[in-house]
């Protein structure tokens, strides 16, 4: 569950995992590397694109900063 001012989002699966990786220390590359280990069958490029568009969507709402 991601709580923010006046709202909340219930996250599951990969979305939840990505946000758990966003700990304020890991870089984007490190997050992509961690996901690549977990989803070995997907290409690193595809993972990188997906992570970026997910984080961008959250950034637009000011739910993550990077």
């Amino acid at each position: 569950m991601l709580l923010f001012p006046e709202g909340m989002v219930r996250l599951q699966g990969t979305a939840q995992y990505i946000l758990e990786l966003c700990d304020g220390h890991r870089t984007l590359q490190e997050i992509v590397a961690a996901l690549s280990e977990r989803y070995a069958s997907s290409s690193q490029k595809k993972i990188s694109e997906d992570v970026l568009s997910f984080l961008e969507a959250l950034q637009k709402k000011r739910l993550v900063d990077y």
């Binding site: 569950m1 709580l3 923010f4 001012p5 006046e6 909340m8 950034q59 637009k60 709402k61 000011r62």
Partner: protein, 360 residues
């Protein structure tokens, strides 16, 4: 089946150094010596968390008027609640701000009355604007989510663009453009505060433009004021469905203004467990479900969307708390709202303003 509440609004005091003419507090304010202690509040926060509450909104009055605000925040945080402080900033110095954030505050919502010093102080009935502005500059350097709350109404909507620009300079993550809602003191001042439809259209355009230009920098949230909406708001997400409010003396209410409805008995957290109050007490049961609804609502397909609107507004405008919220275009009493709309903007500058004051 009764759902669990998701948010607790804790009105920790009705004391306030400001006298805002649109204050949502009741006209009869709770006195200081009746306030719950920090220990009592901590117990309420624990009970709320056990009931399933996720968000805690500390509000007032001005919560910083309590010298134990830091321990209230700590108690909310320790109960595992996402803790939000709704404040005017008065009573919070930069050093107290650091202590408040360290106590575990997740989010601070700082209100502004205007972008212009003179107008802001006029609406607040106090010299507050300069302090708010300097506090905002300290907030955005700290690890806490920051929202600026701009309260808008007829007296300031003409320069909404300027107010949004001013807010940008304060660097919050989010701005909430909050139209005054006509309860409590705002209802007393409705003739001076209700915007004209032209102002409202201008505001909608300004908000849309800001949302586009500022995406990723500052989130812009705004809700159409219900007097001008076609259908009523789903007040509190439905009576006794998502939110509960505890007033400074421990009375639990389903809505800020519910105290105006005659014949409702509000049980107190000093005498009953919060869970019993939520699930069983008369006040919370009174407008749950659809049994109480008027013919207009009972036959309307939107009854599960907006729950007939706001019970307090229905009472305040029509005298009947079970009536369809009169802001609804389908309400037989909608003419009462149209009269208020048609009067908006006439002789506004000469109208007297009633400032929020506390009887001692």
């Amino acid at each position: 089946m009764i759902s669990n509440p998701l948010a607790l609004i804790a009105e920790v005091t009705h004391r306030c150094p400001l006298h805002c003419v649109y204050c949502s507090n009741p006209l009869e304010l709770v006195s200081t010596n009746a306030e719950l202690s920090s220990g009592e509040w901590a117990h309420v926060f624990e009970e709320a968390a056990q009931l399933g509450v996720l968000h805690l909104h500390l509000t007032g009055g001005e919560p910083a008027a309590r010298i134990d605000l830091e321990s209230l925040i700590l108690a909310g945080h320790q109960a595992g609640l996402y803790t939000n402080l709704i404040t005017s900033g008065i009573g919070i110095s930069v050093s107290r701000l650091s202590r408040i954030v360290e106590a575990g505050l997740d989010h601070i919502q700082l209100s502004f009355q205007d972008s212009q010093n003179r107008l802001a102080n006029w609406i607040a009935g106090a010299k507050a604007h300069a302090h708010k502005t300097s506090l905002a500059r300290a907030i955005h350097t700290l690890p806490v989510a920051f929202t600026v709350n701009l309260v808008v109404h007829r007296q300031n909507l003409d320069h909404i663009d300027e107010m949004i620009e001013f807010t940008q300079q304060l660097e919050p993550q989010r701005v909430e453009i909050a139209h005054a809602q006509y309860y409590g003191w705002a209802l007393k001042n409705r003739d001076a505060l209700l915007p004209t439809s032209e102002q409202l259209e201008k505001c909608l355009r300004a908000v849309e433009k800001a949302q586009q230009c500022l995406a990723g920098k500052m989130r812009v949230d705004s809700v159409v004021p219900d007097y001008y909406a076609r259908y009523p708001k789903a007040c509190m997400g439905g009576w006794g469905q998502r939110i509960l409010l505890v007033d400074p003396s421990g009375h639990a209410l389903p809505c800020h203004a519910a105290g105006v409805i005659p014949g409702l008995r509000f049980d107190n957290v000093r005498e009953h467990p919060l869970e019993w109050i939520w699930t069983k007490s008369d006040a919370f049961q009174k407008y749950r479900g659809e049994g109480w609804m008027s013919e207009t609502c009972r036959n309307c397909e939107r009854r599960s969307v907006d729950f007939g609107g706001c019970r307090c507004q229905a009472f305040l405008v029509t005298g009947n708390a079970s009536a369809t919220d009169p802001v609804c275009s389908l309400s037989p009493d909608h003419g009462l709202i149209q009269i208020a709309q048609s009067q908006a903007g006439r002789e506004s500058e000469r109208l007297p303003l009633y400032y929020r004051t506390q009887q001692r």
